[in-house]
């Protein structure tokens, strides 16, 4: 198990190097100069030149890239924001707390509501309720999230006046963005729970359970649901990874100063270390979440745990 985890984490290194190179190249193509963008058009050429020296913007593309990457590898130094002069990770952590709150609200809403609706939909397959739930999922997937956000603002903030329009200072501020961010994942979760429940309910052991007179509620929750949980857990894990990096537009709509807003702002100002730092951070986080999901399987599904142990033994035998 430890070997498996280490291998997965090592596989991340080339991906991160690749990401840094891709983004460094793209940002290098972006017209405009970070020093000029920071100081404004009225700055004297001398001031711009001094800042360029300070930021290390002079020198060829590869020289700058290897300086940047060298600092990360040798000193663990991800550089500092051109804009605020703070270390990259200080900037990221300040913003990240907002994104985390948004992501967890969204994940909680989409998982709980999604699984519940999925179960109802599967139990009452082909009924009116099932059709309504299917229609809701279709509409949710077809809706741009920013538009849903605007509609929720109009309904709850403007018409009803119960929730704040934008900002991130209290927990009420996270309700509308949370629902907005949950919408797409909600549709996926409903669909996945429904089909997973239906698949398991066709198994022989479910028929056996019913035949021996297990109460229907126990059949649904103890027999079907427990076995249908695997794909749902995967989906929640994947969603969580996406959620942490995928709320860029929603943060814009609701004026949340999260990591997505930071990235857009930094792309506009050519604040390269922040952009690359953010993406590396998100990529690392989502692969750790995926890894955790894989490990979680073994605990949910004893069949898989058994398989994992036997293959390991086999592998040892064949090696020895």
């Amino acid at each position: 198990m430890v070997k498996f985890i280490i291998k997965r984490l090592l596989m991340l290194i080339p991906v991160l190097l690749g990401i840094s190179f891709i983004l460094f190249s793209i940002m290098n193509l972006t017209p405009g100069d970070a020093a000029t963008l920071l100081l404004g058009d009225s700055a004297t050429p001398e001031a711009v030149e001094t800042l360029r020296q300070q930021l290390g913007l002079n020198g060829g593309f590869f020289e700058r890239y290897f300086n940047y990457i060298g600092n990360i590898i040798l000193h663990g130094d991800f550089g500092f924001s051109y804009r605020t002069k703070n270390p990259v990770f200080d900037e990221i952590f300040i913003r990240f707390s907002y994104t985390v709150r948004l992501a967890f609200t969204a994940i909680a809403i989409s998982s709980i509501l999604g699984v519940l609706l999925g179960i109802v939909s599967a139990i009452k397959q082909y009924s009116k309720t099932d059709n309504i739930i299917t229609a809701i999922t279709l509409i949710l997937t077809s809706m741009p999230d920013f538009w849903l956000g605007l509609m929720l603002i109009i309904l709850f903030s403007v018409k009803l006046g119960v929730l704040p329009i934008s900002g991130a200072t209290s927990w009420q501020h996270f309700i509308l963005p949370g629902f907005t961010a949950a919408a797409n994942y909600l549709a996926n979760t409903i669909r996945m729970s429904r089909s997973s429940m239906l698949e398991v309910s066709r198994m022989d052991y479910i028929r056996t359970a019913r035949a021996k007179g297990v109460p229907e509620r126990d059949v649904i929750f103890k027999h079907i649901f427990k076995n249908a949980l695997m794909p749902i857990v995967t989906l929640v894990g994947v969603n969580m990874g996406w959620q942490l990096g995928g709320t860029i537009i929603i943060e814009q709509v609701f004026g949340i100063p999260g990591i997505g807003s930071l990235m857009i702002q930094s792309i506009r100002l050519k604040d390269v270390p922040i952009v690359i730092g953010c993406v590396m951070f998100i990529a690392t986080l989502s692969s750790i979440i995926n890894l955790a999901t894989d490990i979680l399987y073994a605990y949910i599904d004893p069949r898989l745990r058994a398989k994992f142990v036997t293959t390991k033994k086999k592998a040892v035998k064949s090696n020895g």
């Binding site: 080339p14 991906v15 690749g18 990401i19 891709i22 983004l23 793209i26 940002m27 193509l29 972006t30 017209p31 279709l138 509409i139 997937t141 077809s142 809706m143 741009p144 999230d145 920013f146 538009w147 605007l150 509609m151 603002i153 109009i154 403007v158 018409k159 329009i165 089909s195 239906l198 698949e199 996406w242 990096g245 995928g246 860029i248 537009i249 814009q252 997505g260 990235m263 857009i264 792309i267 506009r268 952009v275 993406v279 998100i282 990529a283 989502s286 692969s287």
Partner: protein, 302 residues
């Protein structure tokens, strides 16, 4: 994939009608039994017709972008079906015209990602396990690890803000996923007998890839392409909404929403219509895509 469903068709026909159908006819036969997919197709055809005839009945200069401040913020009425915006322009006409931009750019994005994905996926799948395959797939992993919206934003700011650049940026950011899909279909096809036959005839690798394997992988590509147009229309609107896509006064739906956002507290009706237009278009494409998936591969349907 197509080979398998061809055999399947004949069995289906023997139970249903005796008449032999061609492959496309039998796909259509299954497609039109799906009422939702058919509804999607009808809506989509209507939208395409609107996109084509709107320049015949409307004039871009006078109807779409001319500002008439005296007419601003007229609520929905018979004269202005969806009302007028903060510059006095008729929202209904702008939405009709906007369908052109969304469809054109959406299809352009998918053409780029499908074209690139077909080449990358074919090479990578055909030379499975080779250096080229590893390099291409690791590149895809890297691009997939960057959030799609962010990659598109970075590419647009690198290339400069214009419609072709937007298409290119969104096309590139969806290409890795498309390559994966093509690769997996190529993998499932390349060991079949018709490929062996082609190899034994001394056919060149390129010809086998693009003339023998790829046409057989076209089913999943069409399905993914249709769904991808739907997703692209949302991405285009999102990019325009944050000011990095299609710029006002061009009446792209996301750009219209971006303009409407500043006035939405006092005039919420500005936000309704463009959003419904997006939902309707995306939904019709999703229904078609799902319907095609079931029609092309009847085994998949549960």
């Amino acid at each position: 994939m197509a080979e398998i469903s061809l055999n399947k068709n004949k069995i289906d026909e023997s139970t249903g009608e005796v008449k032999r159908r061609g492959q496309i006819a039998s796909i259509w036969f299954r497609f039109k039994k799906n009422k939702l997919a058919l509804a999607g197709l009808i809506i989509f055809v209507a939208l395409v017709i609107i996109a084509f005839i709107s320049p015949l009945i409307l004039d871009y200069e006078t109807d779409i972008i001319t500002q008439e401040i005296s007419n601003r913020f007229q609520g929905p009425s018979l004269e202005h079906l969806f009302g007028t915006d903060q510059f006095g322009r008729d929202i209904f006409k702008r939405i009709l015209w906007g369908s052109r931009t969304s469809m054109f750019v959406g299809i352009g994005v998918v053409a780029i990602s499908l074209g690139g994905g077909a080449i990358i996926g074919s090479i990578s799948g055909y030379y499975e396990g080779s250096v080229a395959d590893n390099v291409l797939m690791r590149l895809c992993d890297m691009f997939l690890a960057i959030p799609g919206t962010l990659l598109a934003i970075a590419l647009v700011s690198a290339f400069g803000n214009s419609i072709p650049n937007l298409m290119l940026a969104l096309g590139i950011s969806t290409m890795p996923k498309m390559s994966r899909i093509v690769r997996s279909s190529v993998l499932s096809l390349k060991n079949q007998e018709f490929v062996e036959a082609a190899i034994s005839c001394g056919t060149s690798d390129a010809r086998i890839m693009f003339r023998h394997i790829l046409p057989n992988a076209v089913g999943p590509m069409i399905v993914e392409g249709t769904l991808s147009v739907a997703r692209s229309i949302i991405s285009i609107a999102s990019m325009s909404f944050i000011g990095l896509g299609i710029q006002p006064p061009n009446p792209e739906w996301g750009a219209m929403l971006s303009e409407a956002k500043t006035q939405m507290i006092n005039y919420p009706y500005l936000v309704y219509a463009p959003g419904f237009a997006i939902v309707l278009t995306v939904m019709s494409l999703t229904l078609i895509g799902d319907g095609l998936r079931d029609a092309l591969d009847p085994k998949m349907k549960n």
